[in-house]
Symmetry: C2
Subunit: 818 residues, 2 copies
């Protein structure tokens, strides 16, 4: 099929035939939209409308729909005239009926769902299924062909649009921003995305701010400021606004169409000029990208008044303007007149199929917006070329060797990934790439930056595969748009602040859950998080930066789409991330520290351990073959695992007869029963690891109760004692922080003593000594501002003599940005 | 003390004495800031600086601090000259040392913490405690006098500032916005707050956009767009920008101070003019409020280069520019020179107290920004005048009477609250007040709106106590600012989308936790949520609008600050909300439906039940006195309770011999052990309610595993079977939705049969019939789009004949906005 991106205008203005086609498309899609909201039967009004033809429960949103249909019709003309590959993202996602209607006229809907056929029976099914039990949602959704954006939760239309445009240099993404949505924070900052797009190598986003004036029950801010302020605002955001207004007077639709077609032509020519310049001058200054302000009445073309109240052009048109069409003749007749106002007899043939003139405007094949392959990103997805992560392993001759900075080690690997995938892999970060220590990737790419440069900028360029803006919303939205269009990437953030996008994660997980149930939606790359600067090492920042609860949030979503990993050292982090980058249709949450810390496993051991997801670390266990342990000590997460191992060290010294099994968990979902999560262990496996009757002393990275939630059905659960973060802590030393939350080595040994009744008098005095040592450690921290050397420089016995004892303490005060 | 808000300029320009005072204040606070970050001892450099005087761990943030100190000094002059009550909010909260330094010079710090005395010993303690174990956080925090804003998580400075300004007509809130923070979504939309402020009855926010050019490791967007774009942006937001730039050349500090003093005078005069006009013309058009763009180098006045790299004016100054002051002589000497550059000997006397000239600039008493009573809101808090909630009760002659719309009933009560408290109670909503059906409050107040009005606007006015903008971030931020300054309010939102402010809730809960530990911080009104349009009734909107996980998120925070209530009907909702509005220092999450539903309790019963928090509903139980039940059926939340009661109805009919105890829980925290939460039940209470050995079949509003987390330590936990939301559902009928997640009446009875082994053959056949009935109910929904009449119109036996059977079904299709 011919595509001819960024061509100039081919005619001086819309032809009569085009205008007729636009109007027919608009009328047909409006008709089909109203039909979906209201009708159960009689889809072509071939009979007089009766109450029985009306749905008993009227659920859906009309208000935004006619505007969306209007834009779709005009984009169709533009696409056909210019052969411009174009994708359509609509912020007001509750305008679902409009997108379904256009997709039906396009032919895509019937291709995707043959049961919705091109005849009266198909129309009846099309109408009935909308927002109906067993049917389709009222919003744009995964079920909607051509869509990557649900829009149920508002605010992310532009972030998604720019995410789709990255590295798709021929693609136009037309993105409708509702004026309600425009009030949200994420949308308000997403206009600045133009500073992160490269005219030469990325596609173009055309924002269309649709001012229909009202939200659910209020006017909108942007519709009620002066045009001067609105124009200033858009210019301030770096856009060139084209203001279009229609529907407020008795101007004919023909005239309106001619005017809007001219605006769209002008805008597309401006874009073509920018793209042409970028081709010859990739370092061109950031252009003022055009955008359109489109002011039309809310619910445009619906009855002007209903029950004596202004409806068209009012918030009353937001949802279902005629709420009693099944209950009163007056509403019923108004509905019939409304539907007939679109002239269905001029739009559909005898059998119920759209007439050729109705669909004459549609482009063909993949140029149909509802058939854009980018909107079913799995179709276009290419596997990443992944270097062998083993090549980036740190050498671990003995357990406890090091220290290594896990995320820095991962950065080396990611640099390899970045170098091997120069057009379909990106890293997004809210100004935390370097702070999270994966900045090695900047050896092979730059941070994209299309605002002003200054002489001492480092690694900033018009083209770059790292995208950093201090907005978690933007990072998440861009990444989602990038993944949904079939590319790969990750988001790195401080652990605490990833909660900023809790709700965006929810929507993406829901999208994945539904997509997996649609055979025509092809798998897309997983959404990978790398959360560092985690709860246990907020030495600089303290309490506000401590929150491990994203894990808890994530595991509420469907088990088949969420994965949580807590690698305890550099090599396990490498093995974990390689796995994540190969996976599809998941959300992978990986939490790892950036501070220097001992490594425990060789690369081969790490691979085996990560494959199992949870397992015994023999080097820290002393249970003779064939015997049962007296106690199981477990660590989940890097700092907790280190403290748990330090506890084992104390036990070896002080309670040498105690048989200890050491377990580490890297894949948190292993703890769940197998029927709850695909990664879940069988009870047999769990019992073999943790025993059914021995005390389990566990140090866990997050809120301890999550572990109980995951394991309460296990036989040995009543023996499980978990230490984790309890919202205690402030700006303090690492060990003081551990002590504040009772996951420190001393407390863990005290826990062992408390739960192994067979330990006698010796243990009691040891307990007292440990208690005193904790007090001493706290005193030291409060006096000197750093941890007791014996604590800070603790080294696992096997590694003593191999490690520079001062390294960890020194590194902890390093000047790295945090 | 004299206060004289909104006076005009008293002199033509800053006097020499004023300029000298400003500069001394600035130098002293800069000195004290650097001292806090670096010094453990030798606070006045009376000895040569040695490595031992330097902290071993250098943690803190310098970059933003000198700019904050500069503004503080200038505001001091303005306050003193005009006697203008002024509060200071700084977005870059990591500039903690600056605020501590100014508060120390003000005298407030020593008044609050006498140990930090006005001498060398006090200075030493001041320096040591900063970002030190057992000391104070590195950020502005609850510990900082004069602060209501932590700033660890960026984005909310302006929302908090406007929240503080509401209903404080004499108060100026000077709010510094960092240019990093300015990139966040919440901040980007919060500039629009000026459309929600009333010049006549509210205070004034003076935004100061501090462009120091860099974030942690990147330049900032707003520092790298053209001045024209920046000015356009601010104008577009409705502000009049005053651009000030300094520190980029060799202009003397004296000259810089004179210029900034003039800008501040001009701005304050513009504000005075607006306030004067508003006094005589309360309906004046929305003014262009002035704001200041202040461009200065990051880390201003620190060493220009360190280790050969540009530091002042670079991202390298973000944190601790001299990271090796304890390790290298070069850094040590640079540090000493840097400290001496402020001339400490001209600033402090022999004993170490600030010289009179150093503090001459400070206003007195409450005019000191660090002593503003609004910043310790509990000082100013007045109890709400609460009407008797019993007066708003619905009549419940028999259980099952109704239906009533719970939130609408609550709306009547809130109208009474609103009418009785006309200057210290507000409701915030993201365009969901009417949708959540508490719009009765609009009978006695308006929605504040200072953008353009149109003729058919309803309840919109320049003055109004309902604040609606489609931004959950704004609503939360405004409410926090309002509460922290001692007033009362609530936020109503759809349940699913409250996750948008998960991270803001985190920070507020942390703030409350710390504040409670500070005796000088007085209790403030609780943050009250009213979450409606909840997971079980998303008939219009489907899957994207279904998420009950905010509860799970909330209960991760400290037990002493969080409360979760799930009232099952109108009267329990009334009793619950009255309790919440009287409480202090909590976050109260209240979840209640807006759809018509039966009521179960009379007002007296509701009061008793809410006082207990959880209890047996005798009307639905049939256990003879002194006997044990065969099964406990429990409901938590309105829809689950209704389904659980409908299950009891089936059991009465089909298994009349089964002894059923019915339990309802309204205060979720009652389920926790008493040592985990102040509301927790003792084991004895729990066992009495739920038994230790009988099956408990529970229908719960949210994710079922939370209940297990709360109860896993209870004796009878292994008998507890919870049904709740499992991420199954789409746009569908209410009962179909219940069935999709297995909390429907039929499934609950099937659960009873499965877990009461004594039920015999009859039960098995009943189970089969229930299974068939579920299939029939699903078939009906998919055929007709509504629920089986026998299901939709089900009425509790006691109420049959009293209830119009069609009401609930009819109401469910009503045209109310959702």
């Amino acid at each position: 099929m011919t595509q001819n991106p960024w061509s100039y205008r081919t005619t001086d203005a819309a032809t009569d035939a085009e205008v007729d086609g636009i109007d027919r498309w608009w009328r047909a899609t409006n008709y089909l939209s109203v039909g979906q909201i209201y009708l159960l039967d009689n889809p072509l009004l071939r009979e007089t409308l009766t109450r029985d033809h009306v749905k008993p429960r009227l659920v859906g949103h009309w208000g935004t729909t006619p505007g969306l249909n209007f834009i779709y019709a005009h984009l169709n003309r533009m696409i056909k005239a210019r052969q411009q590959p174009t994708m359509y993202i609509i912020g007001p996602g509750h305008g679902g009926p409009g997108l379904v209607a256009s997709s039906f006229l396009d032919g895509t809907y019937t291709e995707t769902y043959p049961d919705i056929s091109n005849d009266e029976a198909g129309l009846k099914r099309l109408f009935k299924q909308f927002s109906f039990p067993g049917g389709i949602p009222s919003h744009v959704a995964p079920e909607t062909p051509g869509s990557i954006h649900e829009g149920g939760e508002l605010g992310y239309a532009l972030s998604h649009a720019y995410g789709a445009a990255f590295d798709n240099p021929d693609l136009l993404v037309a993105a409708v921003v509702g004026d309600g949505e425009a009030e949200t924070g994420p949308l308000a900052t997403s206009w600045h995305s133009n500073k992160f797009i490269n005219p030469a190598t990325d596609g173009v986003v055309l924002p269309i701010l649709h001012l229909n004036g009202y939200k659910i029950a209020n006017p909108t801010v942007l519709a009620r400021i002066s045009e001067q302020e609105l124009v200033d605002l858009m210019k301030g955001y770096g856009h060139k606004p084209h203001v279009f207004e229609a529907g407020m007077d008795d101007e004919s639709h023909e005239s309106i169409h001619r005017r809007f077609a001219a605006v769209l032509d002008e805008v597309m020519d401006e874009i073509a000029a920018i793209k042409a310049e970028a081709k010859v001058n990739p370092n061109m200054e950031r252009p003022m990208w055009p955008m359109i302000v489109m002011r039309t009445p809310k619910g445009w073309t619906c009855p002007p008044k209903i029950d004596g109240k202004i409806t068209e052009g009012s918030w009353r048109a937001h949802q279902v303007p005629l709420s009693s069409a099944r209950d009163t003749d007056e509403h019923l007749h108004t509905l019939e007149d409304w539907l007939k106002s679109y002239g269905p007899e001029e739009l559909f043939d005898e059998a119920g199929a759209p007439l050729p003139a109705t669909t004459a405007l549609a482009p063909e094949g993949e140029l149909r917006m509802s058939a854009r392959p980018e909107a079913n990103g799995g179709l276009l997805m290419k596997d990443l070329r992944l270097p062998d992560f083993r090549d980036y392993a740190v050498d671990v001759p003995v357990p406890g060797y090091g220290p290594h900075e896990a995320t820095k080690v991962l950065g080396g690997y990611l640099k390899g990934v970045m170098a091997a995938n120069t057009d379909n892999f990106r890293i997004f970060a809210p100004d935390e790439l370097a702070s999270n220590r994966i900045q090695a990737v900047l050896d092979v790419t730059n941070k994209v930056w299309n605002a002003r440069s200054e002489f001492d900028d480092e690694h900033m360029a018009h083209e770059g595969r790292v995208v950093e803006m201090l907005s978690e919303h933007q990072c998440q939205g861009w990444l989602e748009g990038y993944l949904l269009t079939g590319r790969h990437g990750l988001l790195t953030s401080y652990e605490a602040f990833i909660h900023i996008i809790d709700s965006m994660f929810n929507q993406h997980a829901k999208w994945l859950k539904v997509s997996r149930e649609l055979p025509w939606r092809r798998p897309i790359p997983s959404l990978n998080y790398l959360l560092s600067s985690h709860v246990w090492r907020q030495d600089h920042n303290g309490f506000s930066h401590q929150d491990p609860g994203f894990i808890d949030h994530v595991v509420n979503k469907k088990a088949e789409v969420v994965r949580v990993y807590l690698p305890a050292d550099s090599n396990t982090l490498l093995a974990t991330y390689d796995h994540c980058l190969r996976s599809r249709d998941y959300v992978n949450v990986v939490i790892a520290g950036k501070q220097p810390q001992a490594s425990w496993l060789t690369m081969d051991q790490a691979v085996d351990h990560c494959t199992r997801g949870a397992g015994i670390w023999e080097f820290a266990s002393n249970v003779p073959d064939g015997e049962e342990p007296d106690v199981v000590i477990a660590g989940i997460g890097d700092v907790p695992t280190m403290e748990a191992l330090a506890a084992v060290d104390i036990i070896r010294e002080e309670l040498p007869d105690l048989k200890v099994r050491f377990v580490n968990v890297v894949d948190l979902m292993r703890l769940q029963p197998e029927k709850e999560h695909p990664h879940g262990m069988s009870d047999r496996e769990f019992d073999q690891l943790f025993t059914t009757d021995k005390p389990i002393i566990m140090a866990y990275h997050g809120y301890p109760w999550l572990i109980h939630r995951l394991t309460y059905r296990r036989t040995g659960h009543s023996n499980l004692h978990v230490r984790g973060y309890k919202e205690e802590g402030t700006t303090t030393t690492p060990f003081d922080m551990a002590m504040l939350n009772d996951i420190d080595r001393y407390h863990l040994v005290m826990d062992v003593i408390d739960h192994v009744p067979s330990l006698g008098t010796k243990a009691a005095s040891l307990r007292q000594r440990l208690f005193d040592q904790r007090l001493a450690a706290r005193r030291y921290a409060r006096e000197f501002g750093e941890d007791l050397p014996e604590v800070a420089n603790w080294v696992w016995p096997d590694a003593r003599g191999t490690v520079d004892a001062d390294v960890s303490a020194t590194a902890a005060t390093g000047g790295d940005n945090e």
